[in-house]
Amino acid sequence: MSVATAPASPTFKRGAIIAVILVALAAALATGIATRPDIANLVGERFGNAVSQGVRNGVDGIKTVAAMMAERSPGERAKGALASLKNKRPVGIHERALPKVRKPTPPVSPLAAIVAGPPVPPVIPPAAPLFNNLVSGSPTPVVPLVTGGPTGGGGGNGSPPPFVSITPPGGGGGIIVPPTTTTETPPPPPPPSAVPEPNTWALMLVGFGLVGFAVRRDRRRVALAATE
């Protein structure tokens, strides 16, 4: 009452001014909110959330049975992704992809040709050139042809390549025995290497690529199914 009786006091005036300002601010904010659609929507949304929560909890604030069940539940199972089972295949379909059967080459050929082949000519030629030189007497035309002959003997039988040594005896005369023995062993097929060939490599790479692609596609499909 003392305030009312003393309206001219400076404290009352200050208080009145502050009150007016506050009222004006409140009015401004209220008009702003009321006329702004987004804020109004926001407020409505919050109110709607509250209402839906109330509905979920029940009209008078009590939860429904479904809400109680949902609260204790670990959640719904994701559709599709993890629920597919591994099917047992019937026995008859099972097959194993066996590698290509390679018959081993006869064990004699690779080493025997290399080891036993060369020694034959060196053993016999020493006798042959001597004989050749002495008897037939035709060493001169033959020697220049045989360039690799280390022994330098007639007939050039000392040279490693067998077919080169064939020609000298032809010129040299009747000594044919050493060349024929060397030529009879054909070069054996090389043993299969442990490292796969390039086309095998390529096939493997393509296969792995396909597997990777399939896995990736499957995952993507699973992810899509999970998001649906």
Binding site: V20, I39, L42, N49, M69, E76, R77
Partner: protein, 217 residues
């Protein structure tokens, strides 16, 4: 002095308008996530757990039956404080008198609930049939019980089996873990299966509720 107050009021009005106009374009309030607004919830007596269970009132039961959550009146549910994880279960039959057993299996929430005389005495997380071997739905009955069952089809142990259908679908102990599915059976944790086996008898009713969201989608 009055003039000053009037000018201040006008200033306030203009600032309000300015806020509105500026916020109309880029509204920082609308962009920020709305905080969950809690309305005061009136706690009635039935929401207070008594002896570890919540007693339902008539409205709740009526609502649940109308919504299809329950197909028969239920008196109380277990008060489960935290969400159950895979392999978890609760069993509480203290003070629950004897009565008909009803097992409610909800594929949507992946839960099983055991009721005795309308009071829930046990609940657990289940695993159920995969997409290509779906669990049968509807009202079923326990046809047979087998404590140490060995499946002839899958060559697997299925302890505490409660057989539901003639083609072998059962409730039995299983490795309940996330991401698992069965060939149609309902798998429950072993300890829960043991209690369930002891509590049930042949002829008891089992209701399998469909996974509603999946079917409606």
């Amino acid at each position: 002095m009055r003039l000053g107050a009037a000018t201040l009021a006008c200033l306030a009005l203009t600032t309000g308008a300015a806020i509105w106009l500026a916020g109309g374009r880029s509204s920082p309030i609308a962009a920020s996530p709305a905080p969950a607004l809690r309305i005061p919830v009136k706690v009635s007596e039935s929401n207070v757990p008594v002896n570890g269970r919540l007693f339902l009132n008539k409205d709740q039961v009526a609502q649940a039956m109308a919504a299809g959550t329950l197909d028969r009146p239920v008196k109380s549910l277990l008060a489960v404080e935290t969400p159950l994880h895979f392999g978890d279960y609760q069993w509480n039959d203290r003070g629950v008198s004897s009565g008909p057993i009803w097992i409610r299996v909800d594929l949507g929430t992946q839960l099983i609930s055991v009721f005795r005389g309308g009071n829930e005495i046990g609940t657990a997380v289940i695993v159920y049939g995969g997409d290509n071997k779906q669990t049968p739905l509807g009202n079923l009955h326990i046809l047979a019980k087998a404590k140490d069952h060995q499946s002839s089809i899958y060559d697997a142990q299925m302890p505490y089996t409660l057989r539901l259908t003639n083609d072998g679908v059962s409730i039995h102990a299983s490795d309940v873990r996330w991401g698992a599915a069965t060939h149609g059976c309902i798998g429950v944790p072993l300890a829960f299966a043991q209690r369930l086996f002891a509590a049930t008898k042949v002829g008891d009713e089992v209701t399998v509720m469909p996974p509603t969201p999946v079917h409606s989608a």
